[in-house]
Amino acid sequence: MKKILIIEDDKFLRDLMEKKLLNSDYEVVTAEDGSSGLEMVVSESPDLVLLDILLPTMSGWEVLAKLTQSPKTENVPVVLLTNLGDQNDIERGLKLGVKDYIIKANFTPAEIVEKIKKCLGES
């Protein structure tokens, strides 16, 4: 069973995404801020990280930068899941090597799961 780490500060969205992923047969771990999320990437070794950008303690951008700096974590696939949708944010994310950039409001949980499957090579 593949393990997904959700780093999301909004409890409602985090709980919904967790439930959807559990229903789609994934193992799920969650973090509610950037720095604990970064620690969990190391301690939990997830197959994919679903990362918000506007987060307490450390932004998603900082988390991404730290991940790419360490050989242990540089290859962990990251999908940005955020409501920032400016073209420069999207380009910045893709330049940093994220697998996908998803604007939360424009997609449903089922569509997000499909995108995750694609990133994991499952569909």
Binding site: L13, M17, K20, G85, D86, Q87, I103, A105, T108, P109
Partner: protein
């Protein structure tokens, strides 16, 4: 200095002062406009998060993530979900309009075959066209390129807006004709409907922000931003957009873009 020279000098000074006052007033207005656009942008971003939650939970209920719903419950939740989708469109329109105002609307242009883009756009509308029992006719060039240089996702917004308007403003049983014409240097796309038309006195305001026709069908939803955004996108591609309409006899909206050489 003669009396006449003195008078001229006085008028010149007055004019200079008025000019300065006008420049300052104009700068204040521009600043206010920036504040307003920035406010819309921030407010729209802030609205997206709670709205995402509402949309997600309703779709998960529909998808059976919390068990099966009764037929009646499903219908209510589906209506709620459709409303949340409309609100997402509305917020995205506000954000696009604010980005246009702030000059932050970015275009990544590539080679686009207009004919192909039309086909993929139409797939989103076939169900509603059938539901409203509208007759749909295509007049497309049999051969030759319809290639333009465009940002495909932005150009898709123009197609969406024009086709959606034609559908929304045409009563059930009406007609829609979609055409693509090419000349040596241009690709022209038109959508003609047999709807209510645009009253003469409103025609000059149709591409301005938040303008909505007074003869809107009751059930028609919209922000009044679609044509404003469309005009900006078309013009940013070196194109032109316009329409013809006799009140009560439908409307035809067309835009043309420079054609890429084959």
């Amino acid at each position: 200095m003669t009396k006449r020279e003195k008078e001229l000098d006085r008028i010149a000074k007055l004019l200079i002062r008025r000019d300065l006052e006008l420049t300052a007033a104009n700068e204040r207005l521009e600043e206010l406009d920036r504040v307003k656009s920035n406010f819309i942008s921030v407010a729209a971003h802030q609205l997206r998060t709670p709205l995402s939650g509402i949309k997600w939970v309703l779709k998960m209920l529909i998808d059976g993530d919390a068990g099966e719903l009764s037929e009646e419950q499903l219908k209510l939740v589906e209506d709620g979900f459709a409303t949340s989708e409309r609100m997402v469109t509305l917020i995205n329109d506000f954000l696009d309009a604010a980005r246009i105002d702030e000059g932050r609307f970015v275009y990544n242009k590539k080679e686009v075959e207009v004919r192909d883009l039309l086909e993929s756009t139409m797939n989103n509308f076939l169900a509603v066209i059938e539901e409203k029992d509208l007759s749909l006719t295509y007049l497309l060039p049999k051969e030759g390129s319809t290639k333009v240089s465009a940002d495909v996702s932005r150009l898709a917004i123009v197609f969406d807006n024009l086709i959606e308007n034609a559908i929304n403003y045409t009563p059930p049983g009406g007609k829609i004709v979609i055409s693509i014409k090419t000349t040596r240097s241009r690709v022209k796309f038109c959508v003609k409907d047999s709807g209510l038309g645009i009253p003469q006195d409103q025609q000059s305001r149709i591409f301005t922000r938040f303008f909505r026709g007074s003869n809107v069908l009751k059930e028609t939803q919209g922000t009044g931003l679609g044509l404003f955004i469309s005009r900006n996108i078309v013009e940013a591609h070196g194109g032109e957009i316009g329409f013809t309409s006799e009140n009560g006899e439908g409307a035809e909206f067309c835009f043309s873009l420079p054609k890429l050489k084959e």
